[in-house]
Symmetry: C2
Subunit: 324 residues, 2 copies
């Protein structure tokens, strides 16, 4: 089967064009999109490399959900509605079975979140996957990193640290039980917090998705907003599975700097907390207050033992680093 | 140096936002773009892999111009004006010297063509580079593949086959002379025919860029338009350097199926030929009539010896193929 047939067979008309903006998808030199009136385009590009981001031999289903989930999470961090995406796929060989197993969950996820695959490139080489997702926000309403102010409360969605525990269980090749199945699902199939984050537009002063670890990602907000912060370690949302798997101490450590949780960390000005919490009462994803923005620069963590300055070390592909 | 600093140092504010649409570039979860009124967004994603698309040890300067040139050529094929681009860079190691040498010509080319780098991802792994370029077309005015009609003339820009000869000289490690320097430049630094193609909007019935070889790419037009074509072999534009390097016979073969020329192949309805040729009189890039669209399906080539049906074999990453 040649390249063109491969692409046609598995990647034509995949997903759903929920914003109704796609004029021309796969099959010409470029895709064509008509921007909805009054909207801004937001987009993010992400790459996964075998051996760097996932273990060799990882099932294609899990690569697909990890890839699209993580990239959609960047849209969520802007408070955007999903639109469409492209996929650049580098494969060691033409393997129809692999492609079919990769395309199926990708299509399901794209359908569920309302994004359509509109273009791509398929090349030969070491397994590497790049996705660019695009979404829409009302003009001027994107959630950014640079709006946090002293006194704003710091919130996170869902639970933190699970993904790091899932990875650990994979590296240690641990036998499956319910906890490990849950933790690995959190690693492989991150759920982008799109609906939750859309409720935050016009309310939150800053937002970011937790990809490098809470402290590292919060630090990006602090740097962009020229502020500091204090995180309450005892308020971090930890899943029961993580507590059982890792113990309290390790769970908190992973919640701070484990990375790849793909939850949203956001800041709320005092006057907006009540409105947001009210709008989230019947929402399926819980949010938790975990700290406060301060005027002084720097990041501190606090628990019953006191307060301590920390460095914002997250997962970082190019740095030699030791766990702090 | 860590990943974030690398990105900041070399890839912030690279290039030029000629369409004035970029609201937020590198540095948040997503970039933000405000679509110009009445415009459609067009975009294409392309990947280059070391060992597949370029030889190991290729200087980063040449990878940069090849990568951006080839991808901008997809915009040209739609008749689009350049807007902005993203870059996903997978590197075996953090090498500031390599990055500096890669970023410099990328910036120059992006500046010259009026595209700004607005987002990216830097990861560790085998050298792989993915670029997505975005441009704008007036609503409904994009050049597509599906509009060719029987009787339309087939044109190409520039000259064909040079790039394949440049590759050949690299593979054979031939000593440099003026011809080889020219041919290798054609391979490494393709010049996207953006200005030329913009003059074709509203005139050409179909267009594509020549990346897989004239016959293979023309076949995409034929398939999309449900027509056939005849190519006049003696009318193919061949550079003097190619003729000297390859001889007449090989030059024609490479012009037909060498690939990676990144010229534009387009079709003109009879009533539009004169207007287009007039508008191109003072244009720096020549265009050449090389054949005609026919009602019967299939692709034939013709010269003084007669007419012959051909298959449209171009460069194809996954097919075992012999040169026809």
């Amino acid at each position: 089967m040649d390249e063109f047939e491969l692409i046609r067979q598995y990647f034509s008309d995949l997903g759903q064009d929920s914003s109704g903006c796609v004029e021309l998808g796969v099959g010409d030199d470029c895709a064509i999109v008509s921007p909805p009136a009054g909207q801004q385009l937001v987009f993010s590009i992400d790459t996964l490399v075998e051996g760097t981001h996932f273990l060799p031999g990882t099932p294609p289903q899990q690569i697909a959900t990890r890839l699209l989930g993580a990239t959609l999470s960047d849209l969520a961090a802007m408070g955007a509605r999903p639109g469409f995406f492209t996929l650049a796929l580098t494969l060691p060989e033409s393997d129809p079975e692999w492609l079919a197993e990769f395309a199926r969950p990708l299509a399901q996820m794209a359908e569920r979140h309302g994004v359509r695959l509109v273009g791509g490139d398929t090349t030969k080489g070491p397994l590497t996957l790049t996705v660019q997702v695009h979404g829409w926000v009302d003009r001027g309403c994107a959630l950014r990193r640079d709006g946090a102010r002293p006194g704003d409360a710091i919130y996170v969605t869902g639970t933190l640290g699970d993904s790091r525990a899932g990875l650990e269980s994979l590296l240690r090749n641990l036998p499956h039980d319910d906890d490990i199945a849950y933790l690995q699902r959190r690693f492989y199939a991150p759920e982008p917090r799109l609906a939750t984050a859309q409720l935050l537009t016009g309310q939150a002063s800053a937002a970011i998705d937790v990809s490098d670890g809470l402290l590292a990602d919060l630090q990006h907000i602090l740097t962009a907003s020229h502020v500091g912060a204090c995180i309450e370690l005892d308020e971090l949302p930890l899943s029961p599975a993580l507590r059982r798997f890792a113990g309290e101490q390790k769970a908190i450590e992973w919640a701070c700097s484990g990375g790849e949780d793909f939850e949203i960390c956001f800041t709320l000005p005092p006057g907006h907390e009540e409105a947001v919490l009210d709008s989230l009462v019947h929402h399926e994803v819980p949010v938790w207050k975990v700290g406060e923005i301060r005027a002084s620069s720097g990041l501190v963590v606090r628990n019953s033992a006191g307060e301590q300055a920390v460095s914002a070390r997250g997962f970082n592909h190019f740095s030699e680093q030791t766990e702090s």
